[in-house]
Symmetry: C2
Subunit: 364 residues, 2 copies
């Protein structure tokens, strides 16, 4: 099928760029001795999980039980659920996944761990666990040092669970300035110290898991970390570029839209808004716009409603007509993927593959 | 089923509040002689479209062809597609809908109209059209006055189409201050003048369609308007309250979430973020938070990632534990509904109904 036969809005993936992204990260991981366990929240598609495994990933990461159930379909030998699962029904479903693949869960409380332990015992299986540390993101995780050690000791004593190390998410680190580089060095010191403390306490450090897309290619500067789990790198997006994590030509995902109105002076309306792109703003702040229009990089995609994208073009608006199609690099591709039933894999102008986003909307 | 048996995050609808909202708007429309054609983008569910029809709506409104296909399942006798449809395949699908219900499309360009005309002729049917005016929102629509008349004249001459009047969307009007009231009076003058001009030119004004939820109960102040198409009023949300369109007790929709981490000082993490609520901010600006937590109205839901909601509670955090459930009124319920496969209708603590959100993610 030719790209012109698709209806809009449609989420397109340039397969060549995606393959290059996969290969580059696999090569980097191999060269630096990292176990690569990509976070599949970005694509939510078992077929793409399989590609990651084929290109060198040792396992996959998911965020929710529903995603774990879907991603088990990739046949991954190993899965990390990087989220504290709370709730008995969810845990029962999760034990179903643990019977299909070697499951590890990262968590930051003994309350959540006791529920997981009880579920594992009822199911008669062992589930791996990682103690989650907060290394500056201020989201989940206990502080490194004594609280992390105490959490890990508590985890190591619970039946049905097998402590495998610790995890953290350095999503706050942006390497666009000196401050980011210093934050990375500080992270390295914290992780190295954590490994020493675990070893001293006789706790396992088989998995020391971190790594995000923005700081991906600086992972080797974090001593003691042995696993990385970037997600966005498979497609990349405007945030990744803004955070210094890739170049524009590494962005594999675009949303193809149609101009549906040129009645506005100096601008036009496209047929995609918050229901197509999400209303996520740029992580780095600055100009509050919602995507880069490849055919008009100077245009400002400055506002959106659910089905309308507002684009300002100033004096140059006249070159566009109702019916024209544009391709837009979204701010945040992970949330955009979650809004689409299907994504289209393109090689040049040919639609090579259609992937159903099977893990879309798996909130629970 | 009892509410405690649901997994989280889950989107809950208080059925009594919803029914009260439906009845109140139906009564207002009847008392003021308005044809009520609710916008179904808020619920995206044919069963709820049926309820609107049963409670006094004359027809339904949709935003996309995919939504029209789904909402035809409500059996509505009459449907307005309030969006300029562009693209031959979409128009072919739309003609399928037009064979099931009396279809009207609002649009603002002769380019889009000519495509629609061609599709209607190919299908051998008549499709109603409304000329779309921009009354200050700056989105779609031509300026009132001469441009609107010219568009309407052009539409009236196209085969396969039947001009039925004009449409506008006053979504920019907020009635929380004097300025809003003045904007409403200005809108009234524009609409009245438009009706006069159409009549003078021999153009039909059978449908003069406007109306949004925030200004809903002031619709009678807009002279010449004979149809309103509010959407959000069925559930309401934090935006509706902020815009002065309803009170907190009129909010039928809450997202039930679970606290999954209390490791953060003075706050906690809930199991819903941008994938559950959307990252839509408050329309009225002000404090940038993402929902009102009913059990802790003083809490600040100040940040989100896809699966994490960050809540700050200051000194009072200690009263919450991992595993506690909370109910959150979202900023913008329409985009939240679009993220959920199912919504749960509650009466008290009993789950009375489960609705599949059939129109979810119909981007095209």
């Amino acid at each position: 099928m030719h790209i012109s036969e698709l209806e809009t809005p449609a989420l397109l993936i340039d397969v060549e760029v995606m393959e290059r992204n996969l290969e580059r990260v696999a090569a980097y991981s191999k060269a630096n001795g990292f176990r690569l366990r990509p976070h599949t929240k970005t694509h939510k598609t078992p077929e793409l999980g399989k590609r990651q495994l084929r290109s060198g990933a040792a396992g996959l990461t998911v965020a929710k039980v529903g995603e774990a159930e879907v991603m088990a379909g990739s046949g991954t030998p190993d899965m990390l659920l990087a989220y504290p699962v709370v709730g008995q029904r969810k845990l029962e479903r999760l034990m179903g996944v643990a019977k299909q693949t070697d499951l590890t869960v990262s968590l930051d409380s003994l309350e959540a761990a006791r529920e997981l332990s009880a579920a594992a015992q009822r199911a008669g299986i062992k589930v791996g666990v990682l103690a989650e540390a907060d290394v500056g993101m201020g989201r989940v995780g206990v502080p490194p040092g004594q609280p992390l050690l105490e959490l890990a000791c508590g985890l190591s004593r619970l039946a049905g669970l097998e402590l495998r190390g610790f995890a953290f998410y350095p999503g706050h680190i942006r390497l666009t300035n000196e401050e980011g580089m210093r934050a990375l060095d500080a992270l390295s010191a914290v992780v190295e110290e954590g490994v020493r403390e675990f070893q001293k306490a006789g706790l396992p450090v088989g998995i020391v898991s971190g790594g995000s897309t923005p700081a991906l290619y600086h992972s080797h500067r974090v001593k003691g970390m042995n696993e990385i789990r970037p997600g966005t790198y498979i497609f990349n997006d405007r945030n990744t570029v803004a955070c210094g994590g890739c170049e524009w030509e590494d962005c594999a995902a675009t949303v193809m839209v149609t101009i549906v109105s040129t009645a506005r002076k100096n601008g036009f309306i496209i047929d995609g808004g918050s229901k197509t792109f999400s209303s996520d703003r740029l992580l780095t702040g600055g100009q509050n716009t919602f995507g880069l229009i490849r055919e008009a990089p100077e245009a400002r995609f400055f506002n959106m409603n659910e089905e309308h994208g507002y684009v300002d073009l100033g004096e140059t608006q006249g070159r566009f007509r109702v019916g024209d199609r544009l391709r837009v690099i979204p701010n945040h591709v992970c949330v955009a993927v979650n809004l689409h039933e299907r994504i289209y894999g393109l090689r040049g102008d040919t639609v090579e593959t259609t992937w159903k986003v099977e893990g879309r909307g798996k909130l629970q």
